[in-house]
Amino acid sequence: MKEASRWKRAGGWVDLRGRREGGLAFLLMRLTGIGLVIYLFIHLYVLRLLAQGPEAWDAFIAMAKSPLFLALDGLLILGILYHALNGVRVTLLGLGIGVPHQARLFWGVMTLTLLMTAVAVYAIFAITG
């Protein structure tokens, strides 16, 4: 008998062939979730500047106002919004609510995510720009 290693088998979660909304929603959920974990650590690392006094913090804030950083903020908001909104979808499905409409719920999540991200990005650049 031939057996792919457990890691290789488990790695199939990124394979989108033949998948539809539900599979895509899960893939994005996991990717944004992992992204959020990484972001959390970067965030904590940056916060340590607070302990080093006002100069260090102000220098960081000056850099954080660069267009590149603001664009990254937009990416972060995109990820958070998708994760949170799809989190609501997954929670509802887990309670047996809306299961036959899961695909439509996914597109609703996508639409809301993009709309709210657009508003947020506009606000960020309008305020700091």
């Binding site: 008998m1 057996e3 457990r6 088998r9 539900g22 899960f26 997954v90 299961v99 899961q102």
Partner: protein, 237 residues
């Protein structure tokens, strides 16, 4: 029409690793992928190993991965598969289970999970004179999950199952659902206990791959959520 097939081959007595066999066969557009596989086995290479029995979508023995999707080879038209694969049909064994030879996988982990849910009627009352009666509404309650043919397309399409074969899997939950919600059955408590364990229903991540894969169109995730709710509320209504 000319059909090109890429079939994942593996002979445990000769090969160290699986390899791709490429075959060209003549087929009608409305032939099934199973017919093309038969052509390979009967006229090109008799050593090709695959399972099939009924050839009409009833027995569930020829589930395999066609163009990356778990399906019954006897239910996919060559025309359809050629379109998806841009002229080449890719055929692999079901993922997540050990390969015995070519397209034949070891179904034992799948059936071990199936047996865990006690997939038979449990009723300790003395048998009545004739059949145990049930209203049409009571029969309807679990109608969808009676359609399962145990092909394993769903369970082997599930990332949770790929990550850990201890996960009982959608097919076993479907089979449990079929008895849990049967008004004649008295084994619900025991089945719900099994499904509430670490590798029971809570491993479901609502990915819906099982629903996409099921050749019988069973609303599997709905059945899983109904079982989850029954565990949470302790009620079957």
């Amino acid at each position: 029409m000319k059909v090109r097939l890429r079939i994942q081959r593996f002979n445990p007595e000769k090969d160290r690793k699986p390899w791709w066999g490429e075959y060209e066969v003549e087929a009608e557009p409305v032939d099934r992928v199973l017919d093309a596989l038969h052509y390979v086995k009967w006229y090109i290479d008799g050593t090709l190993a695959l399972r099939r029995s009924c050839a009409h979508g009833i027995c569930g023995s020829d589930a395999m991965r066609i163009n990356g999707r778990n399906r019954l080879a006897c239910k996919v038209l060559v025309r359809e598969a050629m379109g998806e694969g841009r002229g080449v049909i890719t055929v692999q064994p079901l993922p997540g289970l050990p390969v015995i030879k070519d397209l034949v996988v070891d179904m034992e982990p799948f059936f071990a999970n199936y047996r865990k849910v006690l997939p038979y009627l449990i009723n300790n009352d003395p048998p009545p004179e004739r059949e145990r009666l049930q209203t049409p509404e009571e029969r309807d309650r679990y109608d969808d999950t009676t359609k399962c043919i145990l092909c394993a397309a769903c369970t082997t399409s599930c990332p949770s199952f790929w990550a850990n074969r201890e996960y009982i899997g959608p097919a076993a939950i479907v089979q449990a659902h079929r008895f849990i919600f049967d008004s004649r059955d008295q084994g619900a408590t025991e089945r719900l206990r099994v499904l509430n364990e670490w590798f029971g229903v809570w491993r479901c991540r609502t990915i819906f791959n099982c629903v996409e894969a099921c050749p019988r169109g069973i609303q599997i995730t709905r059945a899983i959520e109904e079982v989850k709710l029954a565990i949470l509320t302790g009620r079957l209504s």
